[in-house]
């Protein structure tokens, strides 16, 4: 079937199998491999993207369901060579180690800060608990989100 959607601001149109999951469409068909896959049961949250601004697990969304929608992935976070404050915060506070959960965590943090610019630690922990991290013990992810909250304006790239 033919599916058309907007991904990170660019309209994309492709012929796909009706059963194709959005995560595989992004990764295998479009080469947007920043979105990862980690489980079969929608538990781990590696595959989080935004659909019309709302966080979704792309392993649980059919590509067909994304037709006509706006999809946001990690590849769209940096704009004009300037990192999103969330990306900068993850670097400054060592909020990543292996980097596998990082795209999902950062998109989640961005959505949180868009809705709640000055979140409490409890709100941050609640927001990110849909994505699992095995490396960081979450502490530095919390600090990274706090860093981004404290530096809301995009700054010059340092990485």
């Amino acid at each position: 079937m033919q599916v058309t959607m907007t991904i990170n601001g660019t309209e994309i149109s492709r012929e796909v199998e009706p059963r194709l999951l959005l995560v595989h469409f992004l990764r295998d068909h479009l080469g947007l491999t920043g979105t990862h896959w980690g489980c079969d049961t929608s538990n781990c949250g590696m595959c989080v993207v935004t659909m019309d601004g709302v966080l979704v697990k792309s392993c649980t969304v059919l590509t067909a369901m994304a037709g006509g929608r706006e999809i946001g992935t990690v590849e769209g976070m940096e704009r004009d060579g300037v990192l999103d404050p969330v990306q900068e915060g993850f670097m400054q506070e060592h909020g990543l180690q292996c980097g596998f959960c990082t795209p999902a965590m950062m998109l989640t943090a961005r959505a949180l800060l868009d809705a709640t610019p000055d979140p409490t630690v409890g709100e941050i922990r609640e927001a990110i608990c849909g994505t699992t991290c095995r490396c960081t013990g979450y502490e530095n992810i919390v600090r990274a989100v706090q860093w981004a909250a404290e530096h809301p304006a995009r700054e010059e790239v340092t990485a």
Partner: protein, 808 residues
């Protein structure tokens, strides 16, 4: 305590604002991960690539009567279906394990655990490969499964390894360390107090967020096989491939791309890895196979599964005298653990921990069961996790029986600073430590006395009103042993545990260092650049770190057992020092003086007493490649290589304290605080070290409270998805309170000790001790992990269960 650098010198700062040497530096690798530009195994895309999928056994133990693949072969998108029968013609139906056993690649005679590999389908896309699995018909004849390790040696237990000639039982080995007679003599003394307990460290799984997988591409023209593998040990894997498949080693390139977490799960060679190689040879196309989460949890390297009977002897005043255990080790259907050959039970016999005893004896009996193979994984430092859990629970149980404070009994028995180097009763030589200082640091930071006072108040209130939560305080003190070899003591499949390293300074003063180890998130690209920077005075951003590709790097055994900094970090220091000495000769030639007349300041050789006369390392690099006349016997260029063979393990240690609140109505446990003091010697990049400690502490909460791979009586795996195998999220973890003491290792060139697994080793007993402490008003002396709400509630009723079985 503050962090110090090994040399004690001031750290200059590079133009980019990074320390030239040790200190906090943002990670070089972050740039790609932040942009979604990491390159993980499943990101590998090759022209014409096919996809593999594995058909797995639904049964724990069954004879295979027949396999019908005709319908799968007829699927329009299927390019090949490989069975054990096909592999047998290539002599690849079985492969050697890392422990001298053999393991089925694809089952031929019978299946021995649920999830075992039966057939491999290769198709044009990943969905079609999965579709075709449904078309394969296997006729199974069920056999009785062996599920309970403690009954695997019963006379009526089915024999699992009928493939091994002459096998009449499920026994793998008995292994002992220490002195049984000396131990018995202590236990027989009339004046000792003896505490006994049966402790289970249940089967757990590291479950890195990226599952395992491989892409194989055989070039039939050149005969070169390129394999991308989720591998913590690319060189070891290449050699094993050469040995298993009979392929020439110089025609095999193993590339370990970015790894989405390893924790020991990515050390073994799995059947799927062999299947993609065969599939690429058979189809003439590159083939990718990536396991799904259930495959990862049900079949790849699990951890622990130790059933430990313990006995501890002490004076009535709490001076510990002797410790002994007989442990049943469940290795699953094949003995496929990855650890030094000489130590079949890993380093479990370091089980006397941080205490000065008179005698110790350890006996481990390993058995086969109808479960997935493995046992050594999950940041365990070759089973020091089990050893530390054992001793720290036994000490707490002794304190419980003697009605002593857990901090007091530990302080009374710790090895003292003047006893180092300290040889344990089972033969380990601990290199350095100040244990009482580290324990006191944790107690002070936590406010131990105040916590106990608060607990007494809360208990009095609970007993008075029956309302509120139950507060528990748990301690653990651990000694780790990391950085294997030395090579004459430690090998895997005969490959000695020493690691190579190569450093080259380009003419313009930029450097490239090539490592045998492979990062899985530990930040090697930053830390190893800092080591070179520390030794040569180069800005760390001028040092490129190359790793994870056997065509680009020297041989070595890889990253596990926290061995990267103790072994490869030492190798990096040694090559840097060799380059520095070579630079001295070149500088002396340029300055027309004797090398002995020169002194080193960071980044520069200069004439003693005349500091204006000197050459920077960058200037020397250009001179080394120039037309400068060099002394006879000195070759040009500026490079060095080394193989580092560690003289001993390094022994990091730490003291952890956990505070929990237990809801007596539900059995739910909330971790309120976690205070951790770690001593791993000088910290090259304190930010990275602390991050690794945070991660390990979270794993401890997972193991102690949530994670278990249990089985039902038919051998069905009950932890086969994240719906059932629960991992800690940000909600279950507190804000970690970390502290530092610094005791350098006397034998490491930088004084550094490994740290990657310290927190995973040390944290589970602190959490368990805290929960059991909270349940003291209910008379609870012990309950096995995981202490999930059901288990806590049952413990409060006086009937905790075995958590590894869904039947009793």
């Amino acid at each position: 305590m503050t962090d110090t650098i090994a040399s004690g010198t001031e750290v200059p700062i590079s133009a980019a604002g990074n320390p030239i040497g040790f200190g906090r530096m943002l990670r070089k690798e972050d740039a790609r991960f932040l942009r979604g530009k990491g390159h993980f195994l499943d990101d590998v895309q090759l022209p014409g690539m096919l996809y593999g999928a594995i058909l797995r056994s639904p049964h724990a133990h069954a004879k295979i009567n027949s396999i019908d693949i005709s319908a799968a072969q007829a699927h329009p998108k299927v390019r090949a279906v490989i069975t054990g029968e096909v592999l047998a013609t290539l002599k690849l139906a079985w492969m050697p394990t890392l422990s001298g056993d053999v393991q089925a690649v694809l089952a031929t005679d019978k299946v021995r655990f649920q999830g075992q590999e039966v057939a491999f389908v290769v198709a044009e896309d990943r969905y079609a490969a999965r579709d075709a699995l449904e078309l394969i018909e296997v006729d199974y004849e069920l056999l009785p499964p062996v599920v309970d390790a403690c009954r695997a040696l019963d006379a009526d237990a089915a024999v699992i390894r009928t493939d091994l000639e002459g096998r009449t039982d499920n026994h793998i080995y008995d292994w002992e360390a220490g002195d049984a007679a000396a131990c018995e003599a202590v236990f027989a003394r009339p004046d000792v107090v003896v505490a006994k307990a049966d402790l289970l460290y249940p089967r757990s799984h590291p479950s890195p967020m990226e599952t395992c997988g491989s892409v194989a591409s055989m070039d039939k023209v050149t005969g070169k096989l390129t394999c991308w593998i989720t591998s913590q040990a690319p060189h070891a894997h290449r050699t094993v491939y050469a040995l298993v498949a009979g392929l020439p080693e110089h025609k095999i390139q193993v590339i370990s791309p970015d790894i989405g977490g390893g924790f020991g799960n990515k050390v073994p060679v799995y059947p799927g890895y062999v299947c993609v190689v065969v599939a690429s040879i058979v189809t003439g196309a590159p083939v990718k196979w990536v396991e799904d989460r259930s495959e990862n949890l049900m079949t790849t390297g699990f951890a622990r599964d130790y059933h430990m009977h313990g006995e501890i002897a002490a004076t009535p005043e709490g001076k510990i005298l002797a410790l002994r255990t007989h442990t049943i080790a469940d290795h699953g259907a094949f003995n496929a653990v990855a650890q030094p050959t000489k130590f079949p039970a890993g380093f479990f016999h370091i089980f006397t921990g941080s205490y000065d005893l008179e005698a110790a004896h350890c006996k481990v009996t390993a058995v086969y069961t109808n479960k997935a193979p493995g046992g050594v994984a999950y940041a365990c430092s070759f089973r020091i996790t089990e050893a530390v859990y054992f001793v720290e629970r036994m000490v707490d149980i002794l304190a419980h029986d003697l009605k002593m404070d857990p901090a007091e009994i530990r302080m009374k028995n710790l090895i003292q600073p003047d006893q180092f180097p300290y040889t344990t009763k089972t033969g380990w030589e601990y290199d350095s430590g100040d244990y009482p200082l580290t324990l006191q640091t944790t107690l002070d930071a936590a406010g131990y006395k105040a916590l106990r006072a608060e607990q007494a108040e809360e208990r009095a209130r609970y007993e008075r009103t029956g309302e509120g939560t139950l507060m528990g305080i748990g301690l653990s003190f651990f000694t780790e042993g990391v950085g294997a070899g030395p090579r004459n003591q430690m090998d895997i499949l005969g490959l000695g545990m020493a690691d190579g390293c190569e450093l080259r300074i380009h003419p313009t003063g930029k450097a490239v260092i090539r490592l045998s180890v492979q990062t899985q998130g530990q930040g090697h690209e930053t830390t190893f650049a800092q080591i070179v920077a520390h030794e040569l005075g180069l800005p760390p951003e001028d040092v490129e770190v190359v790793h994870g590709d056997t065509d680009q790097t020297p041989f070595g055994l890889g990253t596990y057992g926290s061995r990267s900094t103790p072994v490869s970090g030492a190798a990096a220091a040694v090559v840097s020092q060799r380059v520095r000495e070579k630079a001295r000769i070149v500088a002396a030639a340029a300055l027309e003086c004797s090398p002995e007349d020169l002194e080193w300041t960071p980044g520069r050789w200069q004439v003693k007493g005349s500091p204006t006369h000197g050459r920077t390392i960058q200037q020397i690099a250009l001179l080394a490649h120039s037309n400068l006349e060099l002394p006879e016997g000195v070759e040009g260029h500026l490079d060095a290589s080394a193989v580092y063979n560690p003289p001993n393990l390094t022994y990091p240690y730490g003291a952890y304290l956990c505070v929990v609140d237990v809801d007596p109505g539900t059995g739910g446990v909330k971790v309120r605080r976690f205070v951790a003091t770690d001593d791993c010697g000088p910290r090259i990049n304190p930010m990275i070290v602390e991050g690794q400690i945070h991660g390990g502490l979270a794993e401890g909460i997972g193991m102690a409270l949530m994670q278990v791979i249990a089985f039902d009586e038919s051998g069905n795996c009950l932890g086969g998805s994240f719906m059932d195998y629960l991992l800690p999220t940000a909600r279950e973890c507190p804000s970690w309170e970390t502290h530092t003491t610094v005791t350098p290792s006397p034998h490491h060139p930088l004084g550094c000790k490994g740290v990657g697994e310290s927190a995973t080793v040390g944290s589970p007993p602190a959490v368990v001790n805290a929960v059991i402490d909270a349940l003291a008003p209910f008379g609870v002396r012990h309950a096995d992990m995981p202490l999930n709400p059901a288990q806590v509630w049952l413990a409060m009723q006086g009937r905790p269960v075995r958590t590894d079985l869904a039947f009793t």
